[in-house]
């Protein structure tokens, strides 16, 4: 059998010859190169999964999304631990009881942390960075953030603690999705 030549494991284990070998002693696995694939030196099969879903939104996320469609950020309140939470949930995870009602929050907040990301989710390089951030929402309890994107700002000027405001899609284009907020801009 024509095994790919790349990385003969035994020769690597043995060098340098002067030093005693370190465990693991014969760590085998045959590494392949791009060429091995490109030129069909190895037998391969391909598969694209057909794995599609329609997840039930449920009570809490359903109403959150309906709020977004109306241009509102909705949170929930737990009377026991006195927290106002976003994203909404039907139950308080710390008190383990159903939450006690809805609260309309501001569409402003504070950047808790952020990144300047030059790589898309599917690993494509981009020139202008995306600016994902955790934004603590005004009106919710301290530390209650959501993940979203910043925009309308020079990436170099973004800082932790920056006040931001949601930039919404035009009402007619909203569909009840987190992307009904296009991005958050400095306030």
């Amino acid at each position: 059998m024509a095994k790919p030549k790349a990385q003969s494991p035994k020769s690597e284990v043995q060098s340098p010859k002067s030093a005693p070998a370190a465990p693991p002693y014969h760590p085998i696995a045959h590494g392949l190169s791009d060429d091995d694939f490109k030129h069909g030196k190895v037998c391969t099969t391909r598969w694209t999964a057909d794995a599609r879903y329609a997840w039930d939104r449920g009570v809490a996320i359903g109403r959150y999304l309906d709020g977004l469609k109306q241009g509102k950020l909705l949170g929930v309140r737990c009377a026991k631990c006195a927290r106002i939470m976003i994203p909404p949930r039907a139950f308080c995870e710390w008190c383990f009881k159903p939450v006690d009602g809805w609260v309309e929050l501001e569409d402003t907040g504070v950047v808790n942390t952020f990144s300047l990301c030059y790589v898309t989710w599917d690993v494509k390089r981009v020139k202008e960075p995306q600016v994902p951030a955790v934004i603590e929402i005004d009106g919710a309890s301290r530390g209650m953030g959501i993940m979203h994107l910043l925009g309308g700002v020079d990436p170099k000027k973004v800082f932790c603690g920056m006040k931001v405001k949601a930039v919404w899609k035009p009402a007619a284009e909203r569909e009840g999705a987190i992307t009904d907020i296009l991005y958050w801009k400095p306030l």
Binding site: C43, T48, A49, D50, A51, A54, W55, G62, D100
Partner: protein
């Protein structure tokens, strides 16, 4: 429901659509690579015997599933074999009814102790019986790509 608040209006019960976007490129592996290449280039089925367990694996394996021993020997098997079981499949990968039902069989190649799964052709379900002799029909050599589909199907011999 143990929730305090419920959905009461049918229109509020909606779904969010999504998928697992998974594209995969699988290697056939150390043993599989050699098996498929031998089949493609030499029209030859190979098996790997385990001297300890007496199993002869087809397709061959790097190791014995039962005792975990390394399988170093390779022997020629088949190409003919015996039908171990069969079925006629009426639904497709998408869950919809197939226009044409597909026969599938388990074939134990001569010299093997394990059975290969493959498509069957050249027979009606009523013609098939366990133990029946089967023979593989290969793709033309030029069209083979080193995959299990280099075997088009098995047919009664």
């Amino acid at each position: 429901m143990a929730l305090k608040e419920r959905i009461n209006l049918p229109g509020e019960a909606r779904t969010w659509y999504g998928e697992l976007p998974v594209q995969s490129l699988y290697t056939a592996g150390d043993a599989g690579d050699r098996f498929l290449k031998t089949l493609k280039e030499k029209d030859q089925f190979m098996g790997s015997p385990c001297t300890a367990c007496g199993e002869v694996y087809v397709p061959p394996k790097l190791y014995c599933e039962k005792c975990m021993a390394e399988l170093k020997d390779w022997i020629k098997v088949g190409p003919d074999g015996a039908l171990e079981s069969w079925t006629e499949v009426h639904v497709g990968l998408d869950g919809k009814r197939l226009a044409q039902a597909q026969l599938v069989g388990l074939i134990r190649l001569d010299g093997a102790t394990t059975s290969m799964v493959h498509l069957l052709a050249g027979a009606e379900p009523n013609d098939l019986c366990i133990g029946m002799r089967m023979t593989p029909v290969m793709k033309p050599a030029a069209k083979r790509e080193g995959a299990i589909t280099d075997i088009l199907h098995f047919r009664p011999k």
